[in-house]
Symmetry: C2
Subunit: 206 residues, 2 copies
């Protein structure tokens, strides 16, 4: 297809497509003349991924590059490639710390991996600290309850990775980032549903 069809299919503006080509985020098309090139479904897919990472997930282009390079060349150590790819997602923090006492105590308590070098460990520590400061500190009982349910979600997600058309890196990065807002909205809606049923509200239910 021509570049104009690429624009139409993906909704990414022409100037942006050209910019991605110049920056090497999008591989060049197959040249069909001095000023024309032909693009494929792979280009459509790559543009969808870039669009999802930038607009829905909020990655800066520099981080998008890291993810695309890992999609193209995950290398031999898939575990490490997955870790680096997911660590490219926001939130970003500069952490000088190499120990995260709240996160460590709770993760060790439930027998989960404690990797201080993984971005989500710092993310958990800071979230626990903020809850503490707000006077709603995490309890062991609550953490256990969360860990059990969240593990159920994560197990499902990893099982479905195997049957997916997407590459593992693509699946992990897009699935992590794009399902986060889904899960948060679902939690708020579950609260509302349970509260409506308990408080005897008559709002319409499906």
């Amino acid at each position: 297809m021509r570049i104009s069809a690429l624009v139409e299919r993906t909704g990414v503006p022409l100037a942006t497509v050209k910019y991605y080509l110049r920056e090497g985020l999008l591989p060049p098309g197959i040249s069909t003349g001095a000023t024309q090139a032909r693009y494929t479904e792979d280009h459509v897919r790559r543009l969808q991924v870039i669009k999802a990472l930038t607009s829905a997930a909020g990655l800066p282009l520099q981080k998008v590059k890291v993810v695309l390079e890992l999609i193209d060349n995950p290398g031999d150590d898939m575990y490490s490639a997955l870790g680096r790819a997911v660590a490219s997602l926001p939130p970003y923090r500069d952490d000088a710390a190499d120990d995260f006492p709240r996160a460590r105590a709770l993760l060790e308590h439930v027998g989960q991996l404690y990797d201080p070098g993984y971005a989500a460990t710092a993310q958990l520590e800071h979230a626990l600290e903020a809850a503490d400061e707000a006077g709603i500190g995490m309890t062991v009982e609550r953490f256990e309850a969360y860990a059990r349910q969240i593990r159920g979600i994560a197990e499902f997600e990893l099982q479905r990775m195997e049957g997916s058309d997407l590459s593992p890196i693509e699946y992990a990065v897009l699935g992590t980032a794009l399902y986060e807002p889904v899960i948060l909205a679902m939690r708020r809606l579950a609260h509302q549903d349970i509260a409506a049923k308990r408080l005897g509200n008559t709002a319409s239910t499906g």
Copy 2:
């Protein structure tokens, strides 16, 4: 306590405390002289709540006011007060839409309340749309799996509301906002833990 002790206890700068007093977010202290006032534990608590809402949860002051008014005066209809309080949390969207077809179909499928006027319904619709566009659209099977686990989390949270020292509004708002990053970090860590165990990685486990 004096205002200086309030600053020390909460870490909120003096100028900010004075600003909250002028704006009515913080009730005045008990006057002990022409230029002095005495503050109580209630002031400490209120400042912790304001701090959590502004810095951890990212609310603008105008939304903080709405939440504080609901904490002070929830009125007779607790269900509606809880809904309005949680709807004061980000993300904020201007939605002209009054139907959310993706969210409706899935919520009705699992027998959950579908309230198009509730902010989280629009939030879910947009999150589902972004996943669709990224080529990882939600399936019914996945939604059912998520809904089951998330309901487990939400049930636990509502049970613990009853035994909490906090007012229902405070508990709902702080619990919704401050545990969201906890849950997201825990999901990323669960992925890592499961992947490490499957892919035979030797990283240290607790």
